[in-house]
């Protein structure tokens, strides 16, 4: 089966089409030059389309995709990271970092206690390094708690 590459090729071609459409949306301005704002992006979309066609018609062998369990783990990791990105500002550094690091650690090596210690240690250790050695203005805890 060489499905991965064929599918990837289709995605690339669709992406290149969307990019082409996007290029035509670019508004020109009173300042103009012989090439303009559209030519270079259109050239790129053209080359990308050719590449996509190559993937569809001359695909490589499929890579080893992970099983459902691992894939689930990766999805969880992504969700945790996204949540972390949103939580960092309102909740401060320490709590989200400890939770996020602990979950990631648990996913690499599923033992609860070492993972919890890793999360706690990384959160406090990195905070001390960032705040005092590097002088970053990180906020440690939720604003509301600090009054």
């Amino acid at each position: 089966m060489k499905l991965s590459d064929r599918l990837f090729g289709v995605v690339v071609i669709l992406g290149a089409l969307a990019y082409t459409a996007g290029a035509f949306q670019i508004q020109s301005s009173f300042m103009s030059d012989p090439v303009g704002s559209k030519t270079f992006p259109l050239m790129l979309a053209g080359v990308a389309t050719i590449c996509g066609l190559v993937f569809v018609f001359r695909p490589d062998d499929d890579p080893a995709w992970p099983g459902r369990m691992t894939l689930g783990n990766i999805v969880i990791a992504v969700l945790v990271m996204v949540a972390y990105a949103h939580a960092l500002k309102p909740l401060g550094f320490l709590i989200p970092t400890a939770i996020c690091a602990a979950i990631l650690s648990f996913q690499i090596s599923p033992r609860p206690l070492p993972a919890a210690i890793t999360g706690l240690g990384l959160s406090i250790g990195l905070f001390l390094i960032f705040r005092y050695a590097l002088g970053l203005g990180l906020q440690p805890l939720p604003k509301a708690w600090l009054g």
Partner: protein, 514 residues
């Protein structure tokens, strides 16, 4: 004598206590980064850059720190290659071939010491080469116009693909993606937004650092989750470390040949350290022949790739500093650092900012000796660091990446973008799509387009200008003006096509992404 006065200027910058401290700190951090599997020179430097900014370092200091990390990572990569049979970073891949068998045969200490010396030899050779070659090249590059630069960028992208992937179409696609992402944001020439989809966060374009930390560091975390950190435990015990003087003396020829090959591979745009160590190893294997026993754990087999990759690391700085076209993934990151500090590498750098260039060269010379000291007598210290398990290391890398990117802009949007790039990087690694061209594309996209547009303004829209033809007023016709653009374009085409044929002849090292 100009060289000596320049060097004197360089050392006057490099020998200030603070710069010296940065060089030593950089060497130390770099060796750790190189030694830890999963952290290589390019992602190591990438996650440190935001921190360098928040420290408020000036251009010279930041560059000294980061290149010391870069050189250090090149030294450090060999440690896990030899002890764990896992390359600490991609260029150290070839070192596993003879390093690990040596370690299994109880000669881990010898392998580390010999490869440490070979690294020193290669890096010193390349730094001297940089010192001699860079000013010459910058004098030539001084005359480059937009058509030459456009051709040069094209050359960099087409040759980069050749070694970065088994599939040229995938390498080309990666370049296109990077260049395409670079187009997002305000158009330099007209000031009109492009591909922003009305999203205000995208007006300034996609930050290069967000992409590189995502593609390298975050993607690495996914790879480790997939493998459950299986590939991380010390396999070989390190005994007493002594100096195998006889092996070292016998290997001088090997180190010299490998350094020359590595340096040349490094200078070529788009090639880089992985290619340097690969060619050095293969070349030396041919020189030694069957009797050399390469692959069974011979000292020369660890010295050749280490001299080669360290020489290439130095060589890759030559096109980055003189032309503004990086020779590898890590030099691309260094280029980004310079651009962010408002320094434009290129021929004018040598005349406008000699303090930066020569301060850097002097620091590299010093860093080499520091690294030799750290990597030979003190190598045991780094071996202990290797025992940090993946389940502590990777969450740590992840958190540092988050804070680094967050400290740049303070926006969650950049963090989400970073995660997105992480997912893309993981999928692309599965599909054998190289990620280094994406990075290079994001970095150089606007420069490449600018070169094209300026060339067309100069020629009033005549495309023959790109091939070195120019309007000649007296004869009222187009005349061949310079052979440089067409030769560069021809090289670009050859560089793109050659791997398709060569790949059947030589087997390339697995993924290349230094």
């Amino acid at each position: 004598m100009e060289l000596l006065s320049n060097l004197a200027l360089g050392f006057s910058v490099a020998l200030t206590p603070f710069t010296l401290f940065l060089a030593v700190a950089g060497c130390f951090l770099g060796t750790i980064i190189g030694a830890l599997p999963g952290l290589g020179p390019s992602n190591g430097v990438a996650i440190l850059i935001p921190l360098a900014f928040s420290l408020g370092l000036d251009a010279t200091s930041a560059l000294v720190l980061m290149t010391a990390v870069y050189y250090g990572a090149m030294y450090g990569g060999r440690i896990s290659s030899i002890l764990l049979n896992i390359p600490g970073d991609e260029p150290a891949l070839m070192t596993t071939l003879d390093g690990y068998p040596m370690a299994k045969a109880g000669r881990a200490g010898d392998a580390l010491v010999l490869s440490g010396f070979a690294s020193f030899f290669g890096a010193l050779f390349a730094t001297i080469g940089l010192m001699l070659l860079a000013p010459l090249l910058s004098r030539i590059a001084y005359q480059f116009g937009p058509s030459e630069y456009f051709a040069l960028y094209l050359l960099a992208f087409s040759t980069l693909g050749g070694i970065a992937s088994r599939n040229q179409a995938k390498a080309a696609l990666a370049s296109c993606m990077g260049l395409g992402i670079a187009m997002i944001g305000l158009d330099n020439q007209t000031g009109m937004p492009r591909f922003t989809g009305g999203n205000l966060h995208l007006m300034d374009g996609v930050d290069f650092l967000v992409a590189i930390v995502g593609l390298f560091a975050v993607a690495e975390v996914f790879v480790f989750i997939e493998s459950h950190g299986r590939e991380s435990s010390i396999g070989v015990k390190l005994g007493k470390v002594t100096l195998p003087a006889r092996d070292l003396a016998k290997g001088i020829g090997t180190m010299l040949r490998s350094s020359v090959i590595g340096f040349i591979a490094g200078v070529l745009p788009g090639a880089g350290a992985s290619l340097g160590s690969f060619l050095a190893y293969m070349g030396e294997k041919n020189v030694q022949g069957e009797k050399g026993g390469f692959g069974t754990g011979v000292p020369k087999g660890v010295m050749a790739p280490e001299a080669g990759n360290n020489a290439a690391a130095g060589g890759a700085l030559v096109p980055m500093l003189t032309l503004g076209v990086p020779g590898s993934g890590t030099t691309a990151v260094l280029l980004a650092l310079l651009l962010t500090l408002n320094i434009t590498p290129g021929p004018t750098l040598f005349t406008d900012r000699p303090d930066v260039v020569w301060g850097l060269i002097a620091s590299l010379l010093i860093a080499n000796f520091v690294l030799l000291a750290m990597n030979v007598p003190m190598v045991k210290m780094f071996v202990h660091i290797l025992s940090v398990p993946a389940w502590v290391l990777l969450p740590g890398v992840m958190m540092i990446s988050f804070v680094g990117i967050y400290s740049l802009s303070g926006s969650y949007f950049d963090l989400l973008l970073m995660i997105f790039f992480g997912i893309v990087g993981w999928i692309f690694r599965k599909l054998d799509v190289p990620t280094v061209p994406i990075i290079l594309g994001i970095l150089l996209g606007n420069h490449m387009e600018d070169a094209l547009r300026r060339a067309m303004i100069l020629s009033d829209g005549d495309w023959r200008f790109l091939f070195g033809f120019r309007w000649h007023a007296p004869s009222d016709a187009y005349e061949f003006y310079s052979a440089i653009p067409s030769s560069l374009l021809a090289l670009a085409v050859a560089g793109f096509l050659a791997p398709i044929f060569l790949r059947r002849v030589i087997k390339k090292p697995r993924a290349v992404s230094d």
